[in-house]
């Protein structure tokens, strides 16, 4: 699989109201290029913080939140995993596209290429976690999360390199944030959240 393959699989599965936060550089470029949506937050700086922004959103909103992260970015902010396991909002999915490298800067190898097991780390932090390495198993994992919820990490192994980089999103940061904020403000409580177990979700919101 390539990273765009993983993002295509997500886009094929998610409803319009699902919030997507994408990692700096290629994940954001691919997401905007494949399907530009008001509920996409294209993170273009603050390396490593996509899961943290996603967690803040998931704890503050009823909709599902999908974070499109990379292995290098997760290793940079590995402390985000215990925080996710601790607060564990049921509407939160952390999807790591693992190519074993810092793709945006010339494919320098990351620690996952030498054996660091992000699934084991995530489980040690109290998260549900699994590894997938084919489009079919990725699709099954996404469908299962959409059906049941639960704070979860999916590592999608995608070592095949994409043919060409996607263009940059044609928006300034202020435009991205304003459009995203307006999209969320326009709907307070979407219907599909009834599928999330209320107790689980409430536990993520309580002090």
């Amino acid at each position: 699989m390539t990273r765009p393959d993983v993002i295509r699989a997500v886009l094929a599965r998610i409803a319009e109201d699902v919030i997507v936060v994408s990692n700096i550089a290629d994940a954001s470029f691919d997401l905007c290029h494949l399907k530009d949506r008001p509920r996409n937050f294209y993170m273009l700086g603050s390396f490593g913080l996509a899961p943290s922004i996603g967690l803040g959103l998931a704890l503050s909103r009823p909709e599902r939140v999908v974070v499109l992260n990379g292995d290098g970015a997760l290793l940079y902010n590995l402390g985000s995993l215990p925080t996710e396991g601790r607060y564990a909002p049921a509407n939160y999915l952390h999807l790591v596209v693992d190519n074993g490298a810092h793709g945006a800067t010339g494919y320098q190898p990351t620690a996952t290429s030498t054996g660091t097991d992000l699934v084991a780390v995530a489980r040690g932090c109290g998260l549900q976690a699994q590894r997938v390495d084919t489009p079919a198993t990725l699709d099954d994992a996404l469908a299962a999360w959409l059906a049941t919820g639960g704070a979860q990490l999916i590592v999608a192994v995608a070592t095949e390199r994409p043919a060409a980089p996607a263009p940059l999103p044609p928006y300034s940061g202020l435009e991205v944030a304003a459009r995203f904020g307006r999209a969320l403000a326009s709907s307070r409580v979407p219907n599909h959240t009834k599928s999330i177990a209320l107790g689980d979700f409430a536990s993520g919101l309580s002090p």
Partner: protein
């Protein structure tokens, strides 16, 4: 302080703790108006606060000035670039009353660092300075500007 925060629509408190504000943290944790979170480090807390802001939710970070140094790139490329204001209650370590010498170099650079980042500094030196807190908090919420309440030991534990 908690009453003023609640009156200004802030219900999420995110902390990497400091001894000076141990009592405030306990009070926030026990106060049903607030959700208290402990991120692993300050930069991560800044990301959580940004997510809350995008969702229309008010938040505050409680941290030491040493932690400001861990947030510099994220503040510029997330808060400044996307126009997301941040509210910080920062304990001012490394001043003349500091017992830990390693805090002093960051203390000496703290106000210049905040100034460089374009974050408004409100100095809280003595308990009476609390009267400035709510007005400055209202300005932060109204104008969507970042603010740091830089609070000395003498504000939290007067001699």
């Amino acid at each position: 302080m908690l009453d003023a925060l609640a009156r200004n629509g802030i219900d999420l408190a995110i902390t990497v703790p400091c001894k000076y504000i141990a009592r405030l943290i306990v009070e926030a944790e026990q106060d049903l108006r607030f959700t208290l979170m402990y991120p692993s480090r300050e930069e991560e807390g800044l990301g959580i606060a940004a997510g809350a802001t995008l969702a229309g939710r008010g938040s505050v970070m409680l941290l030491q000035n040493s932690g400001l140094g861990n947030m510099v790139n994220a503040y510029c490329s997330l808060n400044v670039y996307y126009g997301l204001p941040l509210c910080l209650i920062v304990t001012y370590r490394g001043d003349e009353l500091e017992r830990v010498p390693a805090q002093v170099p960051m203390g000496a650079r703290t106000e210049r660092l905040l100034d460089l980042l374009g974050i408004r500094v409100v100095l809280l030196e003595k308990p009476a300075d609390l009267t400035r807190f709510e007005g400055e908090l209202e300005a932060h919420r109204r104008d969507a500007t970042s603010v740091a309440f830089l609070s000395k030991k003498t504000f939290w534990t007067p001699a």
